[in-house]
Structure formats: structure tokens, C-alpha cells
Amino acid sequence: MMQSENTSDYLSSDNNGKGTISAEVSQMLAKEAKRVTTGKVIFLVATIVILIFSYRQSELNFPLLFQRGENMVEYIKSYFPPDFSYWKTYLEDTLITVSMGIWGTLLAAIAAIPLSILASENVCPVWIVQPTRRLLDAMRAINEVVFALVFVVAVGLGPFAGVMALFIHTAGALGKLFSEAVEAIEPGQVEGVRATGASKIQEIIFGIIPQVIPLWTSFTLYRFESNVRAASVLGIVGAGGIGVLLYQSFQSFDYGKVCAILIILILATSIIDTISAKLRNWLV
């Protein structure tokens, strides 16, 4: 109460004492953005149009879910009980899937270090930055599954094709993330290194990398989590891992086995997610 009284006193005395202040205040008030502008209306209309258009394009039909409700129940019932009779094979293939994730991420992180430096505006001139960024865009734009299809043709069926697919896609993603970390560094620290007569590469190793290492590690672990998930799908196109068995069980309507595989996958990914989240917390 006391405070609010004081404030109002202060305001009123100001208004009475100096007319100029209230004029300035009203000027500032006039600068406040209007609630409804033509720009906002256009934006709203455009959003609605896009939503309707994409609704039709994706043939959304929610009533269908309920109409076929009985079929759905039947179908889901066929998943249970899960059939763990081949659990050893599933476990082995899950290990392959995780290994693919490890190597795909590791290779990508190594490749992303030089790529990210070349893609950072505060390190390299624009004629290097722009082509590198477009290259990273291209690597990221194409999904792992598409790369897997390409590498299955190139190196044959098996996990190696999957690792290469993960590697290329992840290198694109990490390159972009790494370079954003580099662009956010403290320039003074690099200048301190430069002033000693250090070369450009020495500036990067001593001035930049120590600053970005925690972020880089965190990004890499995060990509590792998502790569293990991605690796489980790659088997569908023949690029190794648990996906092969998953696909075969689907094809032979062996839903009990599908269920068992899915349970093992969920367990494996949640274990990896937990461990890497702990690691990231500890690092940053």
C-alpha cells in the first residue's frame, strides 16, 4: 500500500511539475505497437489457408479410426503376448544397431570439426563459408534411409552401409550445430591468442576449441541418441541392424515377434538416452 501511494505521488508530482515528461510519455505510448495490423491479418489468413490445404493433402480422416475400431482392437490383440523365443538373436541385432549408432556418430563428429570451422562466419571468409554451408545443407537435407539405399547399392547389404548413411547425414547436422557454437564464442580470448603471434590454426586450437568443447560434446551425445533410433529403421532397407528382423516379422504377420523386438528396442533406447543425458549433464 505504502509503495503504491508513493508511486502515484511521484507520478502526479511529475505530471504537475513538468509538462514535458507527460508529453514524452504519451509519445512513447503512441509508439506502442497496434494490436490489429494488416500484416497480422494477412499472416492469420495465410496460416489458416496452409492448414486447410495441408489437411486435404495428407488425407486426414479421424472418424475412420473409430469406424474401424473393432478391427484395430483385433489387430492390437494379435501383438500379445510378445514372442521372445528368438530373444538372443534380437539382442545380438540390437547390439549391432547400437554399434552402428556409435560409429556413425563418431565418424560424423570427426568430420564435423573441420567442416564447422569452415562454415563459421567469424573464422572463415564468406567465399569459403557459403559453399561449406550449402554442402552441409545437402548432407542434412537427405534422410538417412535414402543414403542407406544408396550405400546398400555401393557397398552391399549389411551394417556398413547403415554406418555410412548415418555418418553422412549426421556430419551435416553436427557441422551446422558445431558452427553455431563457434559463431557464439568470446572473440576477445581468440584475440589474446592472436596477439602472441599464433597462427590461424593455433588460434582455433587454443582460442576457439576450448570454448566450444562442452557444447560440441553435448551435441554429439544428443545425435548419438537419435542415431541409435535411426539405425533401427535402416535395417528395413537392408542396411543392417535390428530393422531387418523387424521388417521380416511384419511381412510374415508374426506380430508377437514384432512386439518382442519393439520392447527390446524401447528398452535399449531408453537406457542409452538415460546414460547419455547423465553424461551431458555432467559435461555442461
Binding site: 584475440e191 591468442v193 596477439a195 602472441t196 599464433a198 593455433q202 586450437i205 570454448q211
Partner: protein, 264 residues
């Protein structure tokens, strides 16, 4: 002490977006001198210092270090890194690499002498570490050698920066407002360290805006205003009247602000 020229600046001119920052600045610093650059903020002190070791390139003019032009009419010398390694630079904000240890920050002073193959893996030789630790002992913070630089106080960080210059084997130290971010006691320690190094033969050029500090520690001063040299000579002649005639009402910023309390 020989009387050869350590730094020669000739007609140095630079402007930022049409605003002149340095306007035909010329002066000579002999080897072993201790020189203060005085001026209000925005008078061109920092720009001048950064131009002397080529962190910035001027539009016109020549900067010569020990008779080698480090920049000549807007172009850096092709072997600027070799020249830079002879010039230590101390920044107002210390500019240590905060996530490296104190020792590593000091070892950075060696980079110009270390082959790339070794610096790729951040490897230093034992004698280099020995030398760096000796430099830390010299500036009085040996105990903190294995801490991260970011854990030190401002005054300690500035002394790490000085140790880095020592490891560089710098013959010249350029200091850009080295004590402006420090408390009075730390400021005194840093200034006395610079004085000692100067007595050992290192040429020191420091920009400052505290005139009391200049009068206490420096025999010679150059006063800048709007990028122009307004005074160059013995500090005794730079009395209050002289300062007022140079800076007008801005003189208060020079005399009254800063670390006058140390000297009371």
C-alpha cells in the same frame, strides 16, 4: 640501454565509417622507454595500440617495430606473426582463454615458436612448462597454475596476461587500459610489475585515462584527442592547465575518475 627505436609510427590514419579514429599520428618510442597514452574514451588510444601490433590495419601510414615495418599503408607485413611474437599485448578485459588452465594460457605465449604438429595436440615440452611456471612465479601466482583461468580474480588474470608476455619473450609490451577493470590494490600491483619489467629493458606503452597513475609511474606521455596527438613530452609538463586546454570540460573524466584513491 641503447637508444635504438623500438616503435616508430608515421602518419597513421584510420577512420571507422567515415569517422576519423586516428588522424596522421606520428611518434617514436626508443627502446627501454615507458610511455603513457592519455585521452578520454574514444580519443583513439585503443585503436592506436591495436594498430601497433597489427590487430587492426590502418588506412594510411607506417608502423615500424625495430626497423621492420609491421604495417605499411594498409598492408600487414608478410611475416606479421614473427613480429607480433616480439610484442606482448595486455587487454583491459584480460582476454585469457577462460576454459584453459592458467599454465596453458601462459604457454600460449610460446605458440609462435611451437611447430604446428605439436600445437595440434596442445603439446608443450617440459622446459617450456618450466619457463611458463617461472613466469607465473615472477608475477606472483604460481599456486594457481593448474586452475582454470576463469576462476581467478581480475587482478590475477591480468598478471597471467603479463606472464604470457614474458613467455613470449616480448621486447615491447603494449597495454590497453590494463588497470581499468581492476580494484585499486590489484591496479597498483599490475602497474608496479610493468614498471619493474620496464627497468629490465622492456619497452612499455600503456593507454590510461587516470592522469594520477600516469604522473606516478610514467616519465613520458602522449595525449590524444579525436585521434590527434595534442601533447608529446615529459609528464611534468602535462599539468592540469595543459590538460584543460586540450580537453576542455572532458578533463574531469581524466583527472577525477579512476584510481586516484590509491595515491592518497
Amino acid at each position: 640501454m641503447t637508444n635504438s627505436k623500438a616503435i616508430e609510427v608515421k602518419d597513421l590514419t584510420k577512420s571507422f565509417k567515415g569517422k576519423p579514429a586516428l588522424d596522421e599520428v606520428s611518434f617514436v618510442v626508443d627502446e627501454g622507454e615507458m610511455l603513457a597514452l592519455v585521452g578520454a574514451s574514444g580519443s583513439g588510444k585503443s585503436t592506436l595500440l591495436r594498430n601497433i601490433n597489427g590487430l587492426q590495419i590502418a588506412d594510411k601510414g607506417i608502423v615500424t617495430i625495430f626497423n621492420t615495418p609491421i604495417q605499411d599503408n594498409g598492408k600487414n607485413h608478410s611475416r606479421i606473426r614473427r613480429l607480433r611474437s616480439q610484442i606482448g599485448f595486455i587487454f583491459q578485459q584480460f582476454n585469457l582463454v577462460s576454459r584453459l588452465t592458467v599454465l596453458e594460457n601462459v604457454l600460449i605465449g610460446n605458440l609462435a615458436k611451437v611447430p604446428l604438429s605439436r600445437s595440434l595436440f596442445r603439446q608443450f615440452r617440459k622446459w617450456e612448462k618450466y619457463q611458463a611456471l617461472a613466469a607465473l612465479q615472477r608475477v606472483g601466482i604460481l599456486e594457481q597454475a593448474y586452475q582454470r583461468a576463469s576462476t581467478l580474480s581480475g587482478g590475477q588474470q591480468q598478471r597471467v596476461a603479463i606472464a604470457r608476455c614474458l613467455v613470449q619473450g616480448a621486447k615491447i609490451i603494449l597495454a590497453d587500459e590494463p588497470i581499468a577493470s581492476l580494484d585499486p590494490e590489484s591496479a597498483r600491483k599490475v602497474m608496479e610489475l610493468l614498471c619493474q619489467l620496464n627497468k629490465e629493458g622492456i619497452t612499455v606503452v600503456t593507454s590510461l585515462h587516470q592522469v594520477q597513475m600516469v604522473r606516478q609511474y610514467f616519465p613520458r606521455a602522449i595525449a590524444l584527442r579525436d585521434g590527434r596527438v595534442m601533447f608529446d613530452g615529459a609528464v611534468e609538463k602535462l599539468n592540469d592547465n595543459r590538460l584543460t586546454s586540450i580537453y576542455g570540460s572532458a578533463v574531469e573524466e581524466l583527472v577525477l575518475r579512476g584510481h586516484g584513491e590509491v595515491l592518497v
